[in-house]
Structures are given as structure tokens and as C-alpha cells.
Symmetry: C2
Subunit: 335 residues, 2 copies
């Protein structure tokens, strides 16, 4: 029995179909020169044998794996789950599979990256946050990685393609909304301050607000996009302050921070949201819609961004301006 080890090769199909192995493979190639008869014979034989072409061998021969490494380092943020779902689904639709690489452990990050490159991924997509320059550099150092893409985040590195929504436009919209809603004393809750790949939300908000309201707001950087961390920091920072010393709105860099903020305001400061302090987020994670948070936030056009990613992978990305995606402000009760 040929298939006793469970693997049927093109050769097996070839003998059954009465053609050569190469004809078998041609049958699977869309634009191959092969007669309809042969293709049918092959396909029928393939079906009865349960043959499927081996992607390993194909990849080795073509130097194209149709594999994308997705580097994630921040599993505390529920938005990552949303991104993963969207990316894997859309990538799959275009024929790509996703290698999930956990880079949350600093030590293992470069090893994991090296490993992915040894698998000759067609591209590495970073949806992490605290990618310090070493990690990025390591990624670039792995020559085998043909493309390095920073997703949903700007990149300062030239060897990198970044696909993200227009932080400037989005934060401007948010700023205007917050201002016109009557808030006058905001504090910006920022995430980790990274160098290579970062968000511009803080800068945009601070300068936009200054331009609009005349004074530059304070900001509070949280060590990571973790609701708990935001909770603790906000509790620590604002506890015991008089009403007049408190901000009237916390503009948070994303929903993870915003949810921590809301909890802290309610359960540590004993205040109302939005009555005493309003809160805004960014991302529109599923939980943001819960009646408990009712978070005013900004939803990125993830599907479009993912499609742009596919275009980049297939080399048909027209230009470099992939940082101008526009999402939409989702206004709820929290501000």
C-alpha cells in the first residue's frame, strides 16, 4: 500500500491517472498549459486517492510560504483578540496562513522571531506595542523575513511598512468632540512610550487641545496597556484630591486603559462616569459596548487595514501612504 504512512504524493496520482507526475502538478496550477482531459483525469485520480499537494515541498521549491508571522506581545488588551480574528480571517481568504508568535517574553522574543524566519515566512506583522528597538532590529536582522509590517501603529523605521489609521485625523475628531461636549480639564492617559513603533495619539491630542482650548493638558503614561495598571495608576494619582483638582475627562490612548480608568473612577475614587469624570477610549473593543462601560471610543477600519495588508503582501500596494485610514467615532455614555 502506498498510503500506509498516510501520504499520497503526486507520483501516486500520476500512475493512477496514467500520466507523468509533472502533469499532475500542472493540473493544480491555474494558468498551466494542460488539456482539459488530462486535468480531469488527474483530478479524479487525486480525489479517489485523497491527494493534496504538499505545501512544505511547494514552499521549498518556490521560496514562497504563504505564511505570515503575527507577532503579539500584549495579551492583556482584548483588542488583540479582535485584531487576530480579523487578520487571520482575511489573510486566510487570500491564501495566507498565520503563525502566531508570542513575543511577550522578552528573552524568547528574538528566538521566536528567528524561528519564524527559519520557516521563511513571507512577512512578519507586528501588532505588539512594547516593541523596543532591539526587537525591531532583530526582526530586520533576520534576513529571511522578506517584509516587516507594523500594523495599527506608526513606525519610525524605514525598513518597515506601517499600516494604520490616521491618528491625527482620529484624535482631532475626538478632541473636537470632547471639547464641544463641554469638557475643559482633560488628562491624557497614555500607554508605554516606545520609540520605533508608536502611536501619535498623545502628541496629536495634546497639541490639538492646546490649539483649541489654549492650554496643554497633562498626561499620565501607564507602563503597559493593561486595565489593571491603568486602574492602579489612576487610583494612586487622583485619590484624595479635591474636586477642583480633578480632571473632568480622561482621554485614554485605548479602550484597555479606558476600562481600567472607569473602574478606578467608580470603585477607587467613588465618583460617577461621566458625571464627575468622563472617559474616552480608542479601538472599540467588544466590552466597550457593555452597559457598564458605554465607552465613547474610536473604531479603526480593521477590515480595510487587513485588506491593505494583503495588498502589501502581494506586492500591489501602490504607495507608502498606508497611514491614512479613517475610522469613526463611536459616541456612547462615557463622555
Amino acid at each position: 500500500m502506498k498510503d500506509q504512512d498516510g501520504s499520497i504524493t503526486a507520483d501516486d496520482v500520476a500512475v493512477l491517472a496514467g500520466v507523468s507526475r509533472w502533469t499532475v502538478n500542472r493540473a493544480y496550477k491555474k494558468e498551466a498549459s494542460i488539456s482539459v482531459k488530462s486535468r480531469e483525469k488527474v483530478m479524479k485520480a487525486a480525489e479517489t486517492l485523497g491527494y493534496v499537494p504538499d505545501l512544505l515541498a511547494t514552499s521549498l521549491a518556490t521560496d514562497r510560504t504563504n505564511l505570515v508571522a503575527l507577532l503579539v506581545d500584549d495579551f492583556a488588551n482584548p483588542h488583540k483578540l479582535v485584531m487576530m480574528e480579523r487578520l487571520t480571517r482575511i489573510l486566510r481568504k487570500s491564501g495566507y496562513d498565520t503563525l502566531l508568535v508570542n513575543t511577550s517574553d522578552e528573552e524568547d522574543a528574538s528566538a521566536a522571531l528567528l524561528n519564524a524566519s527559519q520557516r521563511r515566512v513571507d512577512a512578519a506583522v507586528l501588532i505588539g506595542v512594547s516593541f523596543n528597538d532591539q526587537s525591531l532590529e532583530a526582526a530586520l536582522g533576520a534576513k529571511r523575513v522578506k517584509k516587516l509590517i507594523v500594523f495599527a501603529r506608526m513606525s519610525g523605521n524605514d525598513n518597515t511598512i506601517s499600516i494604520c489609521c490616521d491618528d491625527s485625523a482620529s484624535m482631532t475628531a475626538l478632541t473636537q468632540y470632547v471639547f464641544s461636549a463641554g469638557y475643559r480639564n482633560p488628562v491624557f492617559i497614555a500607554g508605554p512610550q516606545t520609540q520605533s513603533a508608536h502611536l501619535q495619539r498623545k502628541e496629536v491630542f495634546l497639541s490639538q487641545w492646546e490649539r483649541t482650548a489654549g492650554k496643554r493638558p497633562d498626561f499620565l503614561p501607564v507602563g503597559s496597556y493593561d486595565p489593571k495598571m491603568a486602574y492602579d495608576l489612576i487610583a494612586k494619582t487622583f485619590r484624595g484630591l479635591a474636586k477642583s483638582e480633578l480632571p473632568d475627562v480622561l482621554v485614554c490612548e485605548n479602550d484597555a486603559l479606558a476600562m481600567g480608568a472607569i473602574d478606578a473612577i467608580r470603585y477607587e475614587l467613588g465618583l460617577q462616569v461621566p458625571g464627575d469624570i468622563a472617559v474616552t477610549g480608542f479601538d472599540d473593543v467588544p466590552q466597550a459596548a457593555s452597559p457598564h462601560y458605554e465607552l465613547t471610543t474610536y473604531r479603526q477600519p480593521l477590515t480595510d487595514m487587513a485588506k491593505a495588508l494583503v495588498d502589501v503582501l502581494e506586492g500591489k500596494s501602490n504607495s507608502k501612504d498606508l497611514n491614512t485610514f479613517l475610522g469613526r467615532l463611536v459616541t456612547r455614555e462615557s463622555a
Copy 2:
């Protein structure tokens, strides 16, 4: 230049080191018979050239990819994020990479699965929920998948290895806790009722409670492990009922449902948790600890389970009793 296309092969290293290609490869094999001198020469040459063995070629030759497909179909449950983090990290530590396969789209599920098998994954790990029998069957049909593992869930299929915590023990503990806390009128909030791979929590709870309190509780099946769905169903089911008609505790199959339940109780029924209706969950997702939920729940020993998974992958799993992991009850304010 050899490396103009970015790929240095063992041959390149061989000429630099002045040995044959085979000696180069031997240098990378731990128990290979090679003189220390040669190994050093090779390693030095490899380093200056930046050589790393190609995993694609290795996999093809050895029929071992060190790749595990992780099939996920339920991205609404934050616990999935926790599992993914844990699994990817521990698998990586043992030399495995993870292929993330999104099977949430029913149509694409089998295609995705087929694709994974074409990559000759060493195993497919299901951490999904609504795997109906077709999906499972499809997975088994893909001969190339050497092992099929159902993680954190029982499997009725014999060709499948299931690694999960002891639903019986855990739910018994939970039942006892709830009963001794004085609750007498529980309703069980169940997830989708699947066949092949399912949880036994409902059955265990119902029978345990019957044994303890004398009467079999009602249960409410939710279409998916989605907080929103649970929210809507609970709102619809209990709205307008008199206090006496309401349960005093909702025992939920997992935290996702429990969080939806809590929100519904508070924001739709206008009642207190746990004052009017208490709630318990299962999984101990990060959000369960938030002051808003303070959810009493049960934490599975994910790390141990992941390690057991590695044992299975490496073929050194002693027996079939991988369903007896014990977690611990985490008691908080919600019940």
C-alpha cells in the same frame, strides 16, 4: 556573492569551514558523531556567514514540522486570549511554533483545516467550542494531521486526545460552595450544546445539585459563549418576573456568560449582584477580577495542561487520563 538573495545554505558554510556539507549539518545535531574541532570550525563559519538551518527543508526531510495548528472559533470569549498566550509560550519553549487557524467562519473552517494539514502540522489543537461533528470529522479526515487534540474540553471521539480539567471535580466544588453559601434556587446558564467536544459542567452541576438539595435546577442554553448573547437571553427570560420567581444564583458555564449575566442583572433587571441574584463563572479571565465583576469563578491549571499537551506531542504521555487536572475555586464578591 552567495548571499545576495539573503539565503546562506549549509554548502556555503561548508566551503568556508573547509568541510563537507554533511559535516556542517552534523554540527547542529546534538548527538551526532563529529569531532569538537570540526564543530567549532563549522560554528564559527556559520556565525560569520549568518547561517541558520532552514526549517522548511528540515521538515520536508524529517516529516516533522514542529508546528502545531491551533484552531479557534470563538473570539468573543476573552479566555481564548489567555489560552493562546499560555499555549504559544509553552509550546515555543519546547520548540513548537503555532499556526493560528480561525475556524469561526463555518465555510472556511474546513478549508483552513485542510490548509493546515497541507503544512503537515504535527498536531491540531482545538480550543474552539462550537466544533460540530463535521468539523471534527474533517479534521480527522485530513490524514496528514498526525494528532488531534481537544484542549480544555472533553471529547467524545475516540481518535481524539482530550486534555482538560476535571469538570466533575470542579463543578462539584462549585456546587458545594454555592450551596453552603446559602443559595437555594439556582439556574444554570449553559453554552452551546455540542456533541463531539463538550463540557460536562452542566450535567455535573444539575445532578450534583439534585443530590445535594433535592431538586433539579433549571438551565438556560445560550447560543454561543458571547456575553452579549447571555445578556440578551437573561434580560428576556427574567424581565418582569416577581422576586419569588427569580433564581437567587446564576451558575454560568464560563466567565464570558457570567459577565453578560451580571450586566443583565444590573442594567436590565435593575437588581443587585450578589444581593438579589448571585453569579458564578468558570475560567477566571482577567476581567473577572475587575471590581465591577468580582466574579467567583474557577481557574483551570492552564500551564499544567499546556505542559501535558507538550508531553502528548512528544509522545511521552503515559496514558489517556488527561482529563483529571484540578484547578481551584476563586471566590470573590459575586457569589
